[in-house]
Amino acid sequence: MGTIQPKVAEPAGDELALVHAAKAGDIGAFEQLVRRYDRNVFRIAQHITQNREDAEDVVQDAFLKAYQNLGNFQEQSKFYTWLVRIAVNEALMRLRRRRPERMVSLDEDIKTEEDSMPREVADWAPNPEQLYTQGELKEILGKTIQGLPPSFRTVFVLRDVEGLSTEETADALDLSIPAVKSRLLRARLQLRERLSKYFKNRTGGDGKK
């Protein structure tokens, strides 16, 4: 069985030059960095906050904060990883504001092993995404990921949607590598379980040999 191939390309070689120019006050260079990563930041923000207006605010605030704090960027990580860390913090702050009744933290851990144990083991249709229209599929995927705890959702989005490495995800979220791996496994298994009801093969069979 094949493995998952990362989709994110290495940053272009000019990135560090753009960062240096922006640090020196070149707003045009900073604009190029915004163009390069605004879509990613928006996606991450929308995934975490699950709210369009909040996501728009996060994009603005994260880039403004990045601009103001460029001098503190030590260049030990990629600019993008540093930017993601800022964006995630902004997004979590918005989420906490919107849901003050629920403590939102990346440190929240897993209650039991049970929550991720597979219960549904029916195989899926060969091209499950083709069972639905594009609009229906987006609704299913959005609704499903929304049901995950924010700490799982955030790790899944950075690692599997945005293609950050495990180390970069740990760095951006200030988590240990085992903590990232544990949350990622649980997020993947919970999403799989929930999607099974939409995507399982309906042509018969109970999924057992």
Binding site: I27, F42, V59, V161, G163
Partner: protein, 82 residues
Amino acid sequence: MTCSDFLKELTDYLDDSMDAQTRAELEDHLQWCHNCYVVCNTTKMTIEIYRDSHLYELPDDLRGRLRAAILSKCKGHEGPCT
């Protein structure tokens, strides 16, 4: 190897970040355990569907407005603190 052992290694298996021997043991388990085969395969599909879904794409008009707002705010500040 039990199914529970397999599950613990699933993330590293899908990410191809394990040594050859562990990988061979997992693949041996997949040969005869249909349930783990299905869980592994559908987890991989889950990741690929989300990755390719283009969920929450930034529309061009909103993108332009956000960029204008960001640059206007940046210009209103003193610039990067060094």
